[in-house]
């Protein structure tokens, strides 16, 4: 079920939390996503999918916050996948080295499949 308390849409599929980024990823919206992700991890989520299907523009502060989220997830032993990232945003992620730390999936379905495969490979 969607949760609008922090203005960030999210839902759970099994142990994976799917969090939706807004149209402009900046400091404010980035921090909202960060808060939502922390909340989901604290609630027992074992993986995060951040969906960028609505995102048209990201700025460098937003990207630095995404790195922070990846960091937090790593510490919690959770995997992170970014889905539905448009070409321009994907290029920025590439330029700033985010793609070294996170998998990009075409869409939510591919993200879940990727996570499932990774979980099996890790022997969970």
């Amino acid at each position: 079920m969607a949760d609008f308390k922090s203005n960030v849409r999210s839902h759970i599929v099994g142990t994976t939390a799917i969090v939706y980024a807004s149209d402009y990823l900046n400091k404010l919206t980035g921090e909202r996503i960060e808060r939502e992700c922390k909340k989901q991890l604290d609630s027992g989520a074992r993986a995060l999918v951040i969906d960028f299907s609505d995102t048209e523009l990201v700025n460098s502060i937003g990207i630095s916050i995404l790195l922070g989220i990846i960091d937090i997830a790593e510490k919690s032993g959770a995997l992170v996948v970014f889905s539905d990232v448009n070409n321009e945003t994907a290029q920025l992620f590439e330029m700033l080295g985010l793609t070294r730390h996170v998998v990009l999936a075409k869409d939510e379905e591919e993200a879940l499949t990727t996570l499932s495969a990774s979980t099996k490979a890790m022997g969970h």
Partner: protein
């Protein structure tokens, strides 16, 4: 409908508007000032600060004619203090008379009244019906006032005539010609004080010597800082030549081109001296077809004509007593030879054998006339025009040494004839020479192709290509040099006597700042020299110049220097090696000319770019960077950028706005954006006011690095600028006095 210059009635102008040379911009400024100045405003005055002999009368007379002919809401009143009247009372009465005559002339649109010799009663008779009451009242009041005992009150009454004009009437605009306040120094009435106070009540122009007028204005209690100012220097060389030709034509004096150039040079572009000499030629029915003709006339005029009269009057003003004057001429004449330029005040007092107060008075007057530079202690006598120096020398020989006049005339003529070809040769050399100082002054943080400063690279990549192709390729050459901002230039000889052996123009010392801040680290001195060589400059000459310039830098205590040598045909391979050893820039004449054109083009482009320039100001915060991005997108679409490039421009714009917001303690919390569309590129400048953080540029260049860094804020800064640099083709911080200004360029082809 405005009249053409030819159609304007000539009223006070001594020449037709079309023949008025070299002061067009100043004329427009005065006429515009008259139209805009509001009565009663303290700042409604305009001061004309004159260099000696720069000439201003005709400018004021032409302004008068334009305003008169316009028959608008401004009534021009021109007044020049009579040369033979030195009492404050008679000068003030003259002013009142001229004021009324010119006001009535304007109101009746009858120019002849403006200069007619009329009594006050005549003027009342001529006053138009609408002005009769106040003019009659003014004249009656004057008639009562003039028989009173109080001279100061009478002067004040006359000079304040403009205040008596009813508010509903067209406003008087007083144009006061070059005032010699020194003539009134001994008056009981403080004339300068009264005049300036009176003028300050309504719009006015006051012209006077630049070293005198501001002080007098301040002493009258008027804040000179609030007055508009026009500075009049001698004419530009080209205008001076035009003036000589124009005056000669008007006076009916036949003149050759060579003589035209000689007179313009020898009289140092002074409209006053040029007019005086050519009027004398007309009176004597002389044609000026050779240097001999010119110099014979010059010597005659200097020893007995208009020039003599002018300089004699000047001397009499400076030292009214004949004995003092003789001593002064001796002292000035003996100070003229080179090497004796400065002496002390005490030495002057001793030589003149006068009380210190008297010496001070003489020195103050000489200083105002720019015949000496006097700072209260030392006196620099190497001043004044060449004509003045010739005059002083000859007066000394005639009056003090009692030499035969024929001998003095012969010597003066001989010296003038010998000097004429040298004067012209120097002039032609200056025209032909590379304008090194001008070019350095245009640097102003511009970025140009590095090949322009590297002769070897230029020769390899560009030599032999058609000029248009070279210019076009240099524009897009990726190897660029960012030039510093030069704030002071001087000839090298001002720093090193060793350079006296070369032409003055051949070496320039330019103090500058590179980088984005006015800091000691960014201070740099460019030492530029032109090598006189018909062939490629060789190793020896290059080595000698590098050593010479480095020695100059060492002796002068310059910490960071950049050497730059320019040789007509470039440099030999060995010389190029030597230049590299000294980290010196090297350009051929062709490179220098391309650089000159490029720097001039940028100035023209930047001033002519307004049609294709969009400027927006957004408040910081509230995601307003998205508005900037949307604007950038719309403008980029017009230029047919590819969709991918448009997104890159948008992202870079967003990042630049964030930087502007984050990096300055901005007092107004605003982001200033300028989008300029050029042929093949979009130039975006994002700036803000505020404080630039220390090491800002260093941080700007920092890499994003790993994600686990301690200082996340610093990391973010680095990321934003890294992104911008990746997304745009050119990125640089522009020099601004405060805050940041980031200039980004995206080429359509990219």
């Amino acid at each position: 409908m405005s009249s053409s210059p030819e159609q304007l009635r000539r009223i006070l102008g001594r020449v037709k508007r079309a023949e008025f040379v070299g002061r067009t911009a100043e004329l427009e400024r005065l006429v515009s000032h008259a139209s805009h100045a509001e009565a009663g405003r303290e700042a409604a005055g305009l001061l004309i600060l004159l260099a000696p002999l720069a000439g201003v009368s005709e400018l004021l007379r032409q302004s008068y004619d334009e305003l008169f002919n316009a028959q608008g809401d401004v009534v021009p009143i021109y007044f020049s203090l009579p040369a033979n009247e030195t009492t404050a009372v008679s000068a003030a009465i003259e002013f009142l008379n001229a004021f009324l005559a010119q006001y009535i002339a304007f109101r009746r649109n009858e120019p002849s009244i403006a200069q007619a010799s009329l009594t006050m009663n005549d003027l009342v008779q001529l006053a138009p019906v609408v002005d009769l009451d106040w003019i009659e009242e003014l004249v009656n009041a004057y008639n009562k006032q003039r028989f009173s005992e109080d001279e100061r009150e009478l002067v004040r009454f006359c000079l304040n005539a403009a205040r008596r004009v009813p508010a509903a009437n067209p406003r008087p605009y007083v144009l006061f010609d070059a005032v010699k306040f020194a003539n009134y120094d001994t008056e009981r009435v403080p004339f300068a004080n009264e005049l300036i106070k009176a003028l300050a009540g309504s719009p006015f122009v006051l012209a006077g010597l630049r070293r005198e007028i501001v002080r007098e204005v301040e002493q009258a209690g008027v804040d000179s800082g609030k007055l508009e100012k026009v500075r009049l220097e001698p004419l530009a060389e080209a205008d001076a030549r035009k003036l000589v030709a124009s005056v000669a034509r008007r006076e009916g004096v036949a003149i050759s081109d060579e003589c035209r150039d000689l007179i313009a040079q020898q009289l140092e572009a002074s409209p006053f001296l040029i007019n005086a000499l050519l009027q004398a030629a007309r009176e004597k029915h002389l044609a000026l077809n050779s240097y001999f003709d010119c110099e014979r006339l010059y010597v005659d005029e200097l020893l007995g004509g208009r020039l003599h009269h002018y300089f004699t009057s000047l001397l009499e003003q400076v030292a009214p007593d004949a004995v003092d004057r003789r001593a002064l001429i001796r002292l000035l004449s003996e100070s003229l030879p080179a090497g004796q330029r400065t002496s002390s005040f005490v030495a002057w007092a001793k030589r003149l054998n006068l009380e210190p107060a008297h010496v001070e008075e003489i020195l103050r007057r000489l200083h105002i006339q720019e015949i000496v530079n006097w700072d209260g202690e030392s006196v620099d006598t190497q001043r004044g025009s060449h004509a003045w120096r010739d005059f002083v020398r000859s007066r000394f020989r005639l009056d003090a040494l009692r030499e035969p006049r024929a001998l003095v005339v012969a010597d003066l003529m001989s010296a003038a004839l010998k000097r004429a070809p040298q004067t012209i040769a120097r002039h032609y050399r200056r025209i032909a020479s590379l304008p090194l100082r001008d070019v350095l002054q245009k640097f102003n943080h511009q970025r140009v192709a590095g090949a322009l400063f590297d002769h070897a690279v230029f020769a390899a990549d560009y030599k032999g290509a058609p000029a248009e192709e070279v210019a076009a390729r240099l524009e897009i050459d990726p190897q660029t040099v960012k030039l510093p901002q030069v704030f002071h230039t001087a000839h090298g000889v001002a720093f090193s006597a060793e350079l006296k052996q070369f032409d003055e123009e051949s070496c320039v010392v330019a103090h500058a700042f590179d980088g984005t801040g006015y800091t000691s680290e960014n201070e740099i001195v460019w030492l530029a020299a032109k090598i006189d060589s018909k062939l490629e400059a060789g190793v020896d000459v290059v080595e000698a110049w590098c050593n010479r310039l480095e020695n100059l830098a060492k002796r002068s205590g310059f910490l960071r220097v950049q050497l730059w040598l320019i040789a007509n045909e470039g440099f030999s391979a060995g010389a190029t090696e030597k230049l590299r050893e000294h980290n010196a820039y090297a350009s051929s004449r062709a490179q220098f000319e391309l650089l000159t054109a490029q720097l001039s083009d940028s100035v023209i482009k930047s001033s002519a770019a307004t049609d294709s320039e969009f400027v927006f100001i957004l408040p910081m915060g509230a995601d307003n960077e998205l508005l900037a991005a949307a604007t950038a997108e719309q403008i980029a679409r017009r230029l047919n950028f590819r969709p991918e490039a448009i997104n890159q421009i948008k992202t870079a714009t967003v990042e630049a706005c964030i930087n502007a917001s984050e990096h300055s303690l901005s007092p107004d919390r605003k982001i200033y954006q300028r989008f300029r569309v050029e042929d093949d590129k979009l130039v975006i400048t994002i700036s803000s006011r505020g404080i630039l953080p220390e090491n800002f540029e260093a941080k700007a260049g920092a890499s994003a690095g790993a994600k686990k860094t301690a200082d996340v804020l610093d990391q973010r800064r680095g990321w934003g600028l890294k992104l911008i640099k990746t997304l745009m083709d050119e990125v640089e911080f522009e020099r601004v006095d405060e805050g940041t200004s980031l200039r980004m360029v995206k080429y359509v082809r990219s």
